[in-house]
């Protein structure tokens, strides 16, 4: 179970993954914004703009609403920390990162949930209507997307006889035919819907909206300023990057480094980045074409995703 790869490469993988997620997350957002602008006929800000925004925010003052407790400044730390832990243990560019033996897919889901819970508590701690509104909506959407997510995880774990992410990826690399089974394809769609909901993208939530009564995520983090806001924004973009990278490796694993060595790692890094960028471009183009759903239509979308993932499990049993 323990890795047999040399320590140097394992450490290098962990560092690369963390760096990749921390820098790649904001760049991914920048890329998606650029694609969106171009499709809408605008030039758009440069791709590195989110990184520049983060740098600007770190120089600003930190503020705290007068009624808030220690939870409020603590929440952004937890959000970023959970994503960092996932970036260390999950196989993003190689099948065997240092702590890959502990990268259980269910655990990854619950780690993400910690971040959401922390942000929701931070929103409620502000003592304003907006904070509570965002927290309530975010938790409702999160709770409803959970069944689809976990059952989709189950569908992926059944053929691999394990919910360990490196094991699932290694097994599907050695059985390429698995990737085209109906179970996989159904799980893929369900997963994508859940990722869109969890990361607050269209059609569930509009990430570029501000101060409208339809917003979910932005309402929750309205009171953050300066470095705290930078952490929230960084955390959100890192989450999206991690989710995309996991999604890409679970469904299209080719290119991921299966052996230690600089060449393999470089290839893994490049392919993962390419896959994540492709997913980003795809989602951004999709976002241009759709409008935001009413909040009370979102449950229908989630129920649809749940049905897809149950079908995925059953077909994974029938067509192993």
């Amino acid at each position: 179970m323990r890795t047999t790869w040399p320590v140097v490469s394992v450490v290098a993988i962990s560092l690369l993954q963390v760096l990749g997620v921390v820098l790649g997350g904001p760049l991914l957002l920048g890329l998606m914004r650029k694609v969106r602008c171009r499709l809408e006929g605008r030039i758009g800000p440069p791709i590195r703009q989110p990184l520049l925004d983060l740098r600007k925010l770190t120089r600003r003052e930190r503020t705290r609403p007068d009624q808030a407790s220690w939870i409020f400044p603590f929440a952004p730390l937890v959000l970023v920390a959970t994503t960092l832990v996932i970036a260390v243990i999950a196989p993003l560019l190689a099948t065997d990162p240092g702590f890959g033996w502990s990268a259980d897919l269910f655990a990854v889901v619950y780690l993400l949930l910690i971040g959401s819970v922390a942000l929701a508590l931070g929103g409620l701690d502000t003592g304003t209507a907006f904070g509570g509104m965002g927290a309530s909506r975010a938790m409702t959407v999160g709770a409803l997307s959970e069944p689809a997510l976990l059952v989709a995880v189950l569908a992926l774990s059944v053929p691999a006889h394990s919910s360990n992410v490196p094991t699932i990826i290694t097994r599907s690399l050695s059985h390429p035919l698995w990737l085209a089974t109906p179970g996989r394809l159904l799980a893929l769609v369900a997963f994508m819907i859940v990722i869109v909901a969890e990361s607050g993208r269209l059609p569930v939530d509009n990430p570029s909206t501000h101060l409208e009564l339809t917003m979910i995520h932005e309402a929750m983090v309205l009171e953050y300023a300066g470095p705290d806001l930078a952490l929230v924004k960084l955390g959100e973009s890192m989450r999206l990057a991690v989710l995309f990278a996991l999604f890409a490796n679970l469904f299209i694993p080719w290119g991921i480094a299966t052996a230690p060595g600089a060449g393999h790692l470089a290839l893994g890094l490049v392919t993962t980045m390419a896959k994540v960028a492709a997913l980003g471009v795809g989602l951004a183009s999709f976002e241009v074409a759709v409008a935001k759903l009413r909040l009370f239509r979102v449950p229908e979308l989630m129920a649809g995703a749940f049905v897809l993932s149950v079908l995925a499990v059953i077909s994974a049993l029938v067509v192993p």
């Binding site: 179970m1 770190t58 120089r59 003052e61 930190r62 503020t63 609403p65 009624q67 407790s69 220690w70 939870i71 730390l77 937890v78 970023v80 920390a81 959970t82 960092l84 832990v85 243990i89 702590f99 033996w101 502990s102 259980d104 269910f106 619950y110 780690l111 949930l113 959401s116 819970v117 929701a120 508590l121 409620l124 502000t126 003592g127 304003t128 907006f130 509570g132 927290a135 309530s136 938790m139 409702t140 709770a143 409803l144 959970e146 976990l150 059952v151 059944v158 006889h161 394990s162 919910s163 360990n164 309205l222 470095p227 952490l231 009370f296 749940f306 149950v310 499990v313 059953i314 192993p320």
Partner: protein
Amino acid sequence: MTGALLVATALLGLAASLAGAIAPGRIRTLLSSVLTIASCGFGLAVATEVLHTGHVAVVHTDRLLPLSGFSLMLDRFGALFVAVSAVVGICAMVFRLGYDGHGLSSRTASSVLPLFVTTLLLVPTAASVTTFLFLWELMAVSSLLLVLVDHRRRPEVQEAAQWYAVMTQFGAAALLLGLVLLATRTGGQSFAAIAAGSAHLPSWVKSSAFVLVVIGFGSKAGMVPLHVWLPRAHPEAPGPVSALMSAAMVNLGIYGIVRVGDGLLGGGPVWWWLLVMTLGALSALFGSLHSATSTDLKRLLAYSTTDNVGLMLLGVGASGLFASAGHQSLALVALAAALLHVVFHAVFKGSLFLTASSIQQATGTRDLDQLGGLLKRMPVTGSLFLVGGLSIAALPPLCGFVSEWLLLQAMLHGLPSSNPAIAVAMPIGVGVLALTGGLTALTFVKAAGIGLLGRPRTKPAAQAGEVHESMWIGAGVLATLCLVFGVAPFLVIPAVLDAARNVIGTHIPDPLVGGWQVGLSGIHGVLAPGLLGLGLLVAVSLVAGARRLVQRAAVRRTEAWGCGREVQTARMQYTATSFGEPLTRVFEDVLSPSHDLDVSHVAESRYYVEAATFHTSLNDGFERHLYRPAAGGLRWWGTIARRVPNGSVHRYLAFGLVALIVVLVVVA
């Protein structure tokens, strides 16, 4: 040796009860609590000894109960439950020292409370049907009296106690029928005789006994649709009692179902376990949904007990399903997951109920919509509540996550079997587990976020101060256990596995890997809760350090943004009702909310509103469509039957004669 300890437990409990009845007012609470703690200490000692060595503790006397005698026998399975009850009992008693009010210091309550704790310790040791039913009824009656202690001041207590009395007696009747059926058919009333004789029973006897027993124990565990009393009685009881009821008493329902279903009857056909799983799934969904939309802090916790009992039943049902399909090792994993959840639920729910009672004592209310801002005013109690809440939401590295993960693993690895029942039941089980998990996270965010964070909504909440230290300790021990068991589950997993083996087969090899990780033997991939906890700690410190590095200036306190309004008041915040509103709308069909909007206009003009009141309430569908008609039917039968006994002696003599003839005909 262990037998003597068991006797000491019982005697100390009785002594505590006696002390509560006769000691003078000043030292009554202290004396009865200390003696009860000693009784729990002995119970914990004997339970640990039995769990450790596996030697069964036996006590038998022919004196105490007529005809049958009184027999106790503690094996590893029972010892697990005794240990849980003992730990919860100790913490509740320590908590009680600082807890005032709700009439718990009265003579009656001080004498009944130790009795209740002692029966919680002794029920899992009962070794015969009569002893079991005697202790079971004693537990029911003593807990009923404790629910009632505050009935003079609050009329809703009486209603809660009525529901509880009816449901617990209904359950006891089902239990009596089921156990007596088994005892008469196997020719012995000791559990050993029933277990020996059950293999030769006809299947209809086994099945009807099992269904009756599930009804009886399920009503005590708060299983849907027999749950109606639980969200009434648990919140109305005084703090330590509601903790004991939710964290220790409901466990005994699970104990009974496993003891009879797996132990005495030795497993059964697939439909038994599908029934248990269905009831479990219903309880989990129904409980979590109601808990997510409740606004009363203790009622919310009580519904969440129904939810967690549902998860335990899912595990028990899955275990039975695997066993009947021949997967012994998986059956053990599923049962161990269920028992682990019993232990963890006791720890976090006990701590949550105790801290909720602290909040109630400090503010005088349980209504979340009247609380707020308590984390700053009650930092210790608030933090303990947060720990309990994070555990119940199954977030790593706290304990609730480990048991849910193990249950998920059992369901995952049971899937590729050839049995179609399993193939259909497991994905749905995972879906139920996931939805309840998400809803529980929402519930906890609501309870902690509305109750502890933001601005205080009322004056009592704004003026609330910390409670007595003994209340911190009582809840704090349990909250610490949440963290310790979550990071180092190996402290309990071996004991739980031994307890599970005790009922479904001692020959099954160890299905789990040991040490700091949790995982199934022979399966790639493990859960490392300790590593996750350490990783989170390191990552949080790193990020905090980085934030400190880039911005050293002090944090400025500001007014929150209020759409340009000058003044922000507490009334502008979201309330618990509004927090749950989206969910209420999504699940409108299940929750059937009723709204009542009352607008009165100014006399001069219809266009000006003088006052508006809005009232909204959620309905328990089972109560409306099952219990109300049943109660109506009973009342109707009562009025009809009242005509029969009209006071005439001749008529009564005629009844006697007819009854005698019927008996003679039946016997002949």
